[in-house]
């Protein structure tokens, strides 16, 4: 097991290096084709050549290779890797450290993910188990219809409708009914409030979780259906165990392995969803920062945040692989 973890970790470092190289190459090609992003620093104002040169130097864009189309610019890449190794992820256009921005923004993203994870598992396990247990019944069809409907509303649409159509009247109603200082008005606040992070992240998190839960419902149903047909379940039943015991110990437990894997695989997708959620709801998290950076043409910040999030994804994927190996004794990686 230890050797397996070590091997996966080494592999992950390699993947991460390749990912950074990929991001670097994309940025380089963009700069070579598109002209210098240093201009974005000045917005609409016209800058002198000396000013642009100064900005280029500060953001490490002064290497002549950025003017030669097709040059992979490996020199600046190695330099940047050195900076990453020292924890320096560059600065945004106003000169604030990316690592500093991320440190203040990350807790809110973690809060959002907690809510999302709970929603996924709660909805997926509950509805998926129900559907598998009563296969073919009206309930199964209803749950299936629900999951199709959930899929039909992308998180973007859900949030737009919530923020612009539902939230404001709901917020006003909650304020009138429960008083201004109680909890409910904060739940329905149409934008993030740094003083009440949990309350204002709750509804957006549930919506984001809802949008991803259809896949979980289907997955839980499919893997439990397989368990119900398994020999071990028939054995358990035939030796006279109660139905509840069979379901909890032999069906649910056995079918939870693929669910754990799915959490890892859906993570990357949920990161994309988090960007939309945080951007639309003004939540000050990693996604919200990225959303604003795109709006302000702050390429340095976008690159820094995407690199960091890719690193997080790599770590999550390893953790899932390890959890998978621990949970399922049939899997041996030697």
């Amino acid at each position: 097991m230890g050797r397996y973890i070590l091997r996966r970790a080494v592999q992950a470092v390699g993947t991460l290096l390749l990912v950074m190289l990929l991001l670097h190459l994309l940025t380089t090609v963009a700069i070579q084709l598109n002209g210098n992003p240093a201009q974005a620093f000045f917005g609409d104002k016209v800058a002198t050549a000396a000013q642009i040169a100064a900005v280029e130097e500060r953001f490490g864009l002064d290497d002549p290779c950025y003017d030669q189309v097709g040059n992979p610019c490996l020199g600046p890449f190695v330099e940047r890797l050195g900076q990453y190794a020292q924890g320096d992820f560059g600065t945004n256009l106003r000169g604030r450290e990316v690592s500093d921005i991320v440190a203040t923004a990350a807790p809110n993203t973690l809060r959002l993910f907690c809510v999302v994870l709970v929603t996924w598992l709660a909805l997926g396990m509950l509805l998926g188990s129900l559907a598998a247990r009563r296969r073919g019944s009206a309930g199964d069809h209803g749950i299936r219809l629900t999951s199709v409907l959930i899929d039909a509303f992308p998180v973007f649409v859900l949030l737009i409708v919530y923020r612009y159509v539902v939230a404001v009247p709901l917020h006003g109603w909650a304020e009138r009914t429960f008083g201004e200082d109680s909890w409910p008005p904060y739940w329905f606040k149409p934008s993030f409030d740094a003083d009440h992070p949990w309350a204002t992240v709750l509804v957006p998190g549930i919506l984001l979780g809802l949008a991803g839960s259809a896949a979980f419902i289907r997955l839980v149903r499919a893997s439990q259906l397989e368990s119900y047909q398994g020999d071990h379940v028939r054995t358990a039943r035939s030796k006279g165990l109660g139905e509840r015991h069979v379901v909890v110990h032999h069906v649910v437990r056995n079918s939870s392995v693929p669910v754990v894997t799915a959490v890892g695989l859906t993570f990357a997708e949920a990161l994309g969803g988090a960007v939309i959620t945080e951007g639309l709801m003004n939540i000050y998290g990693m996604g919200g920062v990225l959303w604003e950076a795109v709006r302000n043409d702050d390429v340095g910040l976008v690159l820094g945040v995407v690199t960091l999030l890719a690193a997080v994804t790599v770590v999550v994927m390893i953790l899932v692989d390890i959890a998978y190996a621990l949970l399922d004794p049939r899997i041996r990686y030697e």
């Binding site: 990929l22 963009a30 039909a152 649409v157 612009y164 997708e269 959303w291």
Partner: protein
């Protein structure tokens, strides 16, 4: 989706064991898939012949007619006008083409890349497989939307012209670049399963070339799982495009798209003109819903073990 349609003419000839023909026959009998297909056909016609639905140009925008409420069929502005006075129906109708074209191009090309690489990796294994699997891993680490945000904001200033393909070129390239991996993975897995089946061995011992074995014998078996993914992928691209256009980095102006309309409409919901938001939103949801229903039915038809 398209595979099922293509399989239609051959359906009577081939034996019932062809999974695609079988799937097609099951699909035809379900009312929900027929309705979903009709909805998609409606929007496809709209994309191809916008002139059938509106004679107003989306670019004539008299500002004094801004935010007219919907007037119903027969009026000058059946769905009202937006904040700048442009006709909502005309914008809607002319916004279908870029969205649908983008979705079809992205899914088509990613499918082609994914199937080719997955087939080669699964068939030859060895260093080909190593190369493909590593590449898939690297691309999988960067979530699609994050990659799109990064690359499209990097290329925001590039001017590509206003032709039908030019307005979707950049988002198409990015979404393809980061969207082909699932197909490669699925096809690789099913190729591994299919290539050791008896009839494949038989074909090989009869002297069939690698290419023939791959295309004629392995691919038809490996394509099933991927087919069920297609409608949902098209829906995914359509909603990704809406998000990117909302941020101003998707489809390029002067072309319009539902995402751009939603962005503009969202500011006027509480300002007394909710129709500017609701019209494109309803179209988006209808299209995605139709695709999801189709994907769901296809999944059932191809894998009846899990049907209700």
């Amino acid at each position: 989706m398209s595979d099922a349609v293509n399989a239609a003419p051959t359906a009577p000839r081939v034996s019932a064991s062809n999974p695609l023909a079988e799937a097609w026959r099951t699909l035809r009998r379900r009312p929900d898939t027929v309705i979903a297909a009709a909805v998609l056909l409606f929007f496809a016609v709209m994309a191809a012949f916008p002139g059938l639905f509106t004679s107003t140009s989306p670019r004539t925008c008299p500002i004094r007619e801004a935010r007219t409420t919907p007037q119903g069929w027969g009026g000058d502005h059946p769905l009202g006008t937006d904040a700048l006075g442009c006709d909502v129906l005309a914008t809607l109708v002319h916004g279908v083409r870029p969205s649908l074209l983008l979705a079809v191009v992205v899914v088509g090309v990613s499918l082609l890349i994914g199937v080719t690489l997955g087939l080669l990796a699964g068939f030859y294994l060895g260093w080909v497989d190593y190369l493909v699997s590593r590449t898939v891993e690297v691309f999988l680490v960067i979530p699609l939307l994050l990659a799109a945000l990064l690359v499209l904001s990097l290329f925001k200033g590039v001017d590509l012209g206003a032709g039908t393909f030019n307005v979707i070129l950049l988002p198409a390239v990015v979404l393809i670049l980061f969207g082909w991996m699932p197909y490669a993975r699925y096809v690789r897995a099913s190729t591994l399963e299919a290539k050791n089946l008896d009839y494949v061995t038989a074909a090989r011992s009869l002297g069939a070339s690698d290419l023939r074995v791959m295309v004629r014998h392995v691919l038809p078996n490996a394509i099933g799982t991927v087919t069920a993914l297609l409608p949902t992928s098209v829906a995914g691209v359509i909603s990704a495009e809406a998000v990117l256009s909302f941020l101003g980095i998707g489809v390029r102006p002067p072309a319009t798209s539902w995402g751009i309309q939603i962005e503009q409409g969202s500011q006027w919901v509480l300002g007394g003109a909710p129709h500017i938001l609701l019209a494109p939103l309803a179209c988006l949801v209808a299209t995605v819903l139709a695709l999801v229903v189709l994907g769901d039915a296809l999944r059932d038809a191809l894998d009846p073990r899990l049907a209700a």
